[in-house]
């Protein structure tokens, strides 16, 4: 049986050390005590390591770093950041832009139209900036979690969440265009769950969709 438990935002605040049990309204205290019991069960005994461990690890690191073959291989395959600076005259930029526009027009006009009647489909991604938004769900016991919404055609295979160890926390980060989007989490491919930390509205089918606002300066799962 799959099981998922999401805590009230105030209880999450308690777990984060932002408030004490006494700060919570009485109806949330049982939930808070249960959450604290779960956390209390985690083994927090200090781990003592052998004093020789540091020396062994560092010796291994130095051996690997000293190998010229490894250094050459890393240079070939590791991703790096490059800063590219161009100095071009304005007429070259305008000419290039015109050429790209002309090429685009040729490509677009040269193929059959798939735009539905009643107006073209809005293509916000092309027109506006995308912002990275992180989605988080606490779903212990879940085998699979995904986020589906207006930004991915409600496709539950398009954006799977990744479990953070065995903590029951699932996360993913998506690039979303600026604006307002509706979404829900899909647990184990069957259960549609609204984000407990976000505003939610009626979806027209008797359920709730969560709403995320992506602003030009910050994206966040509300």
């Amino acid at each position: 049986m799959s099981m998922s438990k999401t805590y009230h935002p105030l209880v999450k605040g308690l777990l984060d050390g932002e408030r004490s049990l006494a700060d919570l309204p009485p109806e949330l205290r049982a939930e808070a005590e249960e959450a604290e019991r779960l956390l209390g069960a985690v083994d927090r005994t200090p781990v003592s390591l052998s004093p020789a461990l540091d020396a062994r690890v560092m010796a291994a690191v130095r051996r690997r770093a000293a190998s010229p073959v490894r250094r050459a291989w890393r240079r070939l395959v590791e991703p790096r950041e490059f800063e590219l600076r161009l100095r071009i005259r304005p007429w070259i930029a305008w000419g290039g832009a015109l050429a790209v526009a002309a090429a685009t027009a040729l490509v677009v006009l040269g193929r059959p139209s798939v735009i539905p009647a009643g107006g073209p489909t809005p293509t916000r991604v092309a027109a506006r900036d995308s912002i990275y938004v992180r989605f988080v769900l606490y779903a212990p016991g879940a085998k699979r979690v995904a986020v589906a919404g207006t930004f991915n055609q409600w496709d539950q295979n398009a954006a799977p969440l990744v479990p953070a160890g065995t903590s029951g926390i699932w996360t993913t980060t998506l690039a979303l265009p600026v604006g307002q989007h509706q979404y829900a989490f899909v647990v184990d491919g069957q259960r549609w769950v609204a984000d407990p930390g976000a505003p939610a509205v009626d979806d027209g089918f008797g359920r709730r969709n969560s709403v995320v606002a992506v602003t030009a300066h910050a994206g966040r799962a509300l």
Partner: protein, 218 residues
């Protein structure tokens, strides 16, 4: 010449809905049951013939199909959305926007679906001005109403923010501000009432969490 123009008009009037119908059916194939695809295609043909966008109908059907909603409920939701698109276009015309784009009609229909009346949507549409995006602003109002903020208060809140000259990002943040107040135990109306006071984070100045007595001055 006159006859040719008439024939062209007739052909266009028939071809647009038929084109929309076949396009919608093709897009829904495999994503919803066949009876839903057929029904939505028919509804979309009527909507396209009235010059309204069909994309919101396709998206609503896809959403229902993905969620495993029974076919009759998906069809009913799409039919209701088609009616709201009509109502939205009428409200926008009343606001002086005779040729709204598809996104604005969709945003307006969403506002109507979340409890705002046609008159409230019309008034709000009139109040929106640059740099605010009309469709986004109406979606924000819809979400506020969907959260439980009374429609009249929703309109006043959004209009107030526009008049105050807050940034478009501030407008987009309104639902999350209300949600933050609600997470602290305030009602949606209370949380909305507290907005504009930056130090209260969506709570009215006099608001205290449930279970905590208000402190009275001696």
């Amino acid at each position: 010449m006159k006859h040719a123009a008439l024939v062209l008009l007739l052909v266009t009037a028939i071809a647009v809905p038929l084109g929309a119908q076949s396009d919608v059916a093709a897009r829904l194939a495999g994503r919803v049951p066949p009876e839903v695809a057929r029904a939505v295609a028919e509804i979309a043909a009527g909507v396209a013939a009235r010059g309204l966008p069909v994309e919101p109908l396709v998206q609503k059907a896809v959403e229902g199909g993905a969620k495993g909603v029974p076919s009759d409920r998906v069809i009913a939701a799409v039919r209701a959305l088609a009616a709201r698109l009509d109502e939205a276009a009428g409200a926008l015309r009343a606001a002086g926007l005779s040729n709204p784009d598809a996104d604005l009609v969709d945003g307006t229909a969403y506002a109507l679906s979340q409890g705002l009346s046609a008159a409230q949507v019309r008034d709000l549409a009139r109040a929106i001005h640059a740099p605010y995006d009309a469709a986004t602003t109406l979606r924000v109002a819809a979400t506020l109403s969907g959260l439980g903020v009374p429609p009249k208060q929703t309109v006043q809140l959004v209009e107030g923010v526009l008049q105050a000259g807050d940034t478009p990002d501030d407008v987009l943040d309104l639902p999350s501000e209300v949600e933050a107040g609600m997470a602290h135990g305030a009602s949606a109306a209370q949380a909305a009432q507290g907005l504009g006071h930056d130090d209260t984070h969506g709570r009215p100045p006099t608001w205290v969490p449930p279970g905590h007595a208000k402190k009275h001055k001696p």
